[in-house]
């Protein structure tokens, strides 16, 4: 393997490690949220710095690769997509942390459990976690055939999200939760929905890298 290829393999490895960490963060955020587990939530918050470090390291690696190796064609697309994917993964990491912080504040509110079920947040979580996992598989196997399937999943998330405001409003008007609790849970649902959007962005970057096609804004 040529030296430049080795550098690219190292770059992809670094992004893979970040991906696994972010995946774990999201899994734990879900676990903490559904089980009101403050300890797990604290774990997520404490590991967020590691996600940020990955982003800085990958940024620096990409800058160095462009400066030193002047990549073209698929190599250039790979470096550009890795840069964007690492930024996106970092944002997903932020969302996991935000959800964990919510759990730490609201853990002693069992009255929210029924609302969480009504909001189908577990389904939302599972869907975005699958999207993240499948997009990793798409990159790892360089298989863009998975792209359509992954992007379709985001529609499920969006549909659930679009129902959530009415469900929260009803819960408030029925007195099941306080308006403050309602206001505080909206950003959580929003964060899960945004994770789905970011997973879609990742898939678009993978397609750009492998097939040199631009899916962005093509809907």
């Amino acid at each position: 393997m040529k030296h430049t290829e080795k550098e690219l393999v190292l770059l992809k490895d670094e992004v893979s490690k970040m991906w696994k960490l972010v995946y774990s963060q999201l899994e734990k955020a879900k676990q903490a949220y559904l089980a009101n587990d403050v300890n797990v939530a604290r774990e997520v918050v404490s590991r967020e710095k590691r996600v940020n470090s990955f982003e800085l390291r990958i940024d620096s690696d990409c800058e160095n690769f462009i400066a030193l190796y002047s990549p073209v064609a698929i190599d250039l697309r790979l470096v550009l997509s890795m840069m964007k994917i690492s930024v996106t993964l970092e944002r997903i990491g932020d969302f996991a942390e935000g959800i964990a912080k919510y759990v730490i504040k609201e853990a002693n509110s069992p009255e929210l459990d029924e609302l969480k079920k009504d909001l189908q947040t577990e389904t939302m979580f599972n869907t975005v976690i699958e999207m993240l996992s499948e997009s990793f598989l798409a990159l790892d196997t360089e298989n863009t055939k998975l792209a359509g399937k992954i992007l379709a999943r985001d529609e499920t998330v969006d549909e659930i999200y679009s129902e959530s405001f009415n469900i929260i409003a009803n819960a408030i008007s029925n007195g099941k939760i306080t308006p403050q609790q309602g206001v505080r849970i909206i950003p959580v649902v929003r964060k899960i929905e945004r994770v789905g959007d970011h997973c879609s962005n990742i898939v678009e970057e993978i397609v750009f890298y492998i097939d040199a096609k631009v899916l962005k804004h093509s809907k």
Binding site: K2, H3, T4, E63, N64, A67, L68, Y69, S70
Partner: protein, 248 residues
């Protein structure tokens, strides 16, 4: 490993190198870049005293390899050149067989043990990533090889005498992109055993293969730093203007 202290070099009245101070680490690749006539090749040739062969030249300052001033009167230049291999811009194999080209330095050195020479030739050709391509035609003329193969043969010839330093003056500028890529990969592999100093006009090549880069202009070493630093965030405006093509 390689060091110069306040080195000045003159071709007659022309002041070609001005107060050059540098420390080049062992087992690394250092590239010198700069416009034509900036002094980078002159500087490279200081390390095996090739400039001694040019009449009416003068050196001041110190030029050291492993702490020893190589311009001290006690230094045997032929011993110095055995420790300091050199590869030039154009491949220059001798009009001999492939085997004899690599064995040449050993024979000149008085070695006659056939199996030792054969082993060293094989090892050198392997180190130069050429063995697989020539192992079945070692008795053929070196001129039958392609330009890229000839250049790797010259590298093998330099390696055969076990130097610690390899000086390369534009080693790939006369080669096609595939041969260039092979030479660059070879340089990467060799640096674990050798200290390599390379002069190149190709800035991308310097960026790709070197650990440290020095930028020369008008006989001055304007900037010398880690290659990543030079190509990402050089300290001097002159360096930035040169590597971005804004020079002049």
């Amino acid at each position: 490993m390689l060091e110069t202290r306040k080195v000045n070099f003159y071709y007659g009245d022309f002041h070609a190198l001005k107060e050059i101070n540098i420390k080049i680490p062992a087992n690394s690749v250092t590239a010198f870049i700069g416009p034509s006539g900036c002094g980078k090749s002159t500087f490279l040739r200081l390390f095996n005293r090739m400039n001694d062969l040019i009449p009416d030249t003068r050196l001041t300052g110190e030029c050291l390899i492993r702490g020893e001033n190589i311009y001290h009167k006690s230094v045997d230049v032929s011993v110095l050149r055995k420790k300091t291999g050199m590869v030039f811009q154009k491949p220059n194999p001798f009009p001999k067989t492939i085997f004899e080209n690599v064995a040449y330095g050993l024979r000149v050195d008085g070695i006659s043990n056939r199996s030792f020479i054969a082993d060293r030739v094989e090892q050198s050709l392997k180190s130069a990533a050429l063995w697989d391509e020539v192992k079945d035609k070692l008795k053929k003329s070196a001129f039958e090889l392609s330009g890229g193969q000839q250049q790797r043969l010259c590298i093998a010839r330099a390696l055969a005498i076990s130097p610690s330093v390899i000086l390369m003056d534009e080693p790939a500028s006369a080669l096609d992109p595939i041969s260039t890529s092979k030479i660059e990969d070879l340089i990467h592999t060799l640096k674990k055993d050798y200290t390599i100093v390379i002069v190149t006009h190709n800035m991308q090549q310097a960026a790709r293969i070197s650990d440290k880069t020095g930028f020369f202009m008008l006989g001055e070493l304007i900037e010398y730093d880690d290659t990543k630093k030079i190509f990402l965030n050089p300290s001097k405006e002159e360096t930035q203007n040169y590597i971005t093509g804004r020079f002049g």
